[in-house]
């Protein structure tokens, strides 16, 4: 437990915005712009932010579905960001991903069995019979009937399809799973089933998760540590309970106060943020949050605040990227 399983260092993923007659890059969309975070063995790190904050791009950059522009993705000490596709292959077994909408991420023309056997085929593991055996075992682990093996994705409900997505992700005994909004497309009664399944699998298989979602209540529930993203930057990170109880960044505070609570007519102070998230193509100078921050000062318009530790020690230290102590 002395080294993190995953260590992301100053990761940048920029997309060229093309235009004009020759489709030259006219600008850069800085989806992820200097993010550092780590995931330790057996731990869940939650990544929260609103649409367009770069959280999904960060997830995809880690598994190399997108090639990062700069920075490092150290997995057990190896930098995945710079590896060639061939040298990356063994690491693809170790780092898996679960997507938001299993209807999009499952091939509708393949049976569940063939989808679950495919990872073994790609990595040249086992014989046809043993692969089918393995697929049946995976179905059992995620709570689906054996009969599911010869059926097609459309024959299943959203929750069951997410179970198939999870079965495929755990097929090769990965160490780390990037969960990108795994429950946000599901109804409340199904969402809790899937969250429980993810928690059980983590215990049984000693998995680490990077859990990406927009719903702070969900993220806080499953995570040990959380990081809040805004416009391509991590603005606050730390122990989940600590960040929720004592948020230090004005954006985190606004985000927490905006969540509707299932408690009727509660009289409470709500800080409604004015304005909207700026475009990552043309981010404001200085602090990314300065255009909406109720405490903005001249320095915020000039200087990007670094993520600095404000409490705690070690990996669980509470860090905030704000010029001020609120």
């Amino acid at each position: 437990m002395s080294t993190p399983l995953l260590e992301v260092r100053d990761l940048r993923t920029w997309f060229p915005v093309r235009g004009g007659v020759l489709l030259s890059a006219r600008a850069q969309c800085k989806a992820v712009d200097g993010v550092s975070l780590s995931v330790w063995p057996g731990e869940t790190v939650g990544l929260v932010g609103e649409s367009g904050c770069g959280k999904s791009t960060l997830g995809k950059s880690i598994v190399r579905l997108v090639k990062p522009t700069g920075g490092q993705v150290l997995f057990n000490g190896t930098d995945l960001a710079s590896l060639s596709a061939r040298r990356l292959k063994p690491f693809r077994r170790e780092v898996q991903m679960i997507f938001q909408d299993p209807a999009d991420s499952l091939n509708s023309r393949h049976t569940v069995g063939s989808m679950l056997e495919e990872p073994f085929l790609i990595h040249g593991i086992g014989e046809p019979a043993s692969r089918r055996e393995k697929a049946l075992e995976l179905l059992r682990i995620v709570g689906l009937p054996p009969a599911a093996i010869d059926r097609f994705p459309f024959e299943f409900s959203g929750g069951q399809r997410q179970r198939i997505g999870i079965a495929r992700a755990i097929a090769l005994n990965p160490k780390l799973i990037i969960c990108d909004e795994p429950v946000s497309a599901l109804d409340a009664s199904i969402q809790s089933q899937i969250l429980n399944l993810l928690l059980d699998l983590q215990e049984r298989l000693k998995l680490s998760y990077l859990f990406i979602a927009h719903d702070l209540a969900v993220v806080k529930h499953v995570s040990d540590r959380i990081a809040i993203m805004y416009l391509g930057h991590v603005v606050e990170s730390g122990d989940g309970e600590e960040v929720y109880r004592r948020p230090r960044h004005p954006y985190t505070r606004a985000l927490i106060s905006a969540i509707p609570q299932p408690v009727p007519r509660r009289q409470r102070y709500r800080q409604v943020l004015s304005g909207e998230v700026p475009s990552p193509i043309d981010p404001p100078p200085g602090c990314p949050f300065q255009t909406r921050c109720p405490h903005v000062q001249p320095v915020c318009r000039e200087q990007l605040p670094a993520l600095r530790e404000v409490g705690g020690v070690g990996p669980a230290a509470h860090a905030v990227a704000c010029h001020f102590d609120l």
Partner: protein, 344 residues
């Protein structure tokens, strides 16, 4: 054309909309599906009624039925009455419906892009809504559009009227849709998942806006959502639907502090709350929502209910009063264990 009565608000507390025993059927490839079955509720003037339930429970179909906007020819109302200010909209002719839709009931949809015409400027679309029920010149209508946009908190509205929907962000588009729904100063606004597609900080802005507009204009709101948090913070009365029927109805306090249907309880217990200890196992509702073509006999929740008895599989429970306006359809409503609120 427009009588003054159209724009006057009824007295607060008076019944504005009374839905009685509504049933809606759809023709599907697999046969005829009853999406809404025997749903009754009423909305008082100035009040916000929340309708909550999971996908396929019939909450949106109920809303569309009120405005007679069911997809044609597949969907139709097969029974029931929808009394709006005493007039039955189920039996109403097209002319009456047109008046109601353009002047008395406004609708806000989940995805504003589908409610706005992508090839017309914002100002033109808003002016059109205004001119439908007010005899004003195009110029005056455009001026009123600017005022409306200003009222819903859109910065530089005089510039925005000249723009197309795609030039606005999701939150701004939803504000335009709200402005359009309010253009005729309706007595009732039906909002179907109005903030589901929006980020939580933008959702807070939109809910705040709807609340302020309600205070100012006194309209009633039917808010349809799957989010119990949104319901708790905005509604006075709540209707919980399951598989096309009403499971429970009551004041927001009844539903959240004294839930008396196993389904309502299951929903309240299954949502992760910020106060829960991390990684604790959430309580779940076993199984999944049944398909409309394959509903269990008796109580539709019986195959997922922890309190099921034989009677539940044979006989559908009626919606019966617990106390006051709190009504529940469960055979075991008096024998459920005491409810403890799931806050740690």
């Amino acid at each position: 054309m427009t009588s003054t009565a159209t724009n006057s608000q009824p007295a607060r507390g008076e019944v504005l909309l009374d839905v009685q025993d509504l049933a809606v059927e759809f023709d599907t490839e697999a046969g005829r599906a009853r999406a809404v079955d025997g749903v009754s509720f009423s909305v008082r003037a100035g009040q916000t009624l929340g309708i909550v339930g999971e996908s396929g429970c019939g909450k949106s179909v109920t809303a569309l039925s009120i405005l007679r906007l069911l997809p044609q020819p597949m969907g139709r109302i097969v029974a029931g009455r929808i009394l709006f200010r005493g007039q039955d909209l189920v039996a109403a002719d097209q002319e009456t419906l047109h008046k109601v839709r353009t002047g008395q009931i406004g609708m806000i949809f989940q995805e504003p892009m589908t409610a706005l015409n992508p090839v017309h400027r914002i100002g033109k679309q808003l002016s059109e809504a205004i001119m439908l029920h007010r005899q004003v010149s195009a110029r005056t209508a455009l001026e009123q559009s600017v005022e409306l946009l200003n009222r819903v908190g859109i910065p530089s509205p005089e510039v925005r009227v000249g723009e197309f929907p795609h030039q606005l962000s999701g939150g701004m588009r939803q504000r335009v849709v709200i402005a359009m729904a309010l253009a005729c100063r309706p007595a009732l606004v039906i909002a179907d998942e109005p903030t589901t597609a929006l980020d939580v900080t933008i959702q807070a802005q939109i809910l705040e806006l709807m609340r302020a507009l309600q205070d100012e204009m006194g309209m009633s709101i039917i808010l349809i959502t799957h989010d119990l948090g949104v319901i708790a913070e905005t509604c006075e009365d709540v209707l919980v639907m399951y598989a096309g029927r009403i499971a429970e109805v009551g004041s927001v306090e009844d539903i959240f502090h004294r839930p008396s249907h196993p389904y309502t309880r299951g929903l309240l217990e299954s949502i992760p709350r910020l106060e829960y200890p991390r990684k604790s196992r959430l309580s779940t509702i076993e199984g999944m929502v049944p398909a409309l073509m394959d509903l269990p006999a008796g109580c539709r929740f019986n195959n997922r209910c922890p309190h099921r008895s034989e009677r539940c599989t044979l006989e559908a429970p009626a919606l019966e009063a617990v106390v006051g306006g709190h009504r529940v359809s469960c055979h075991h409503r008096d024998r459920l264990p005491a409810w403890s609120e799931p806050t740690a």
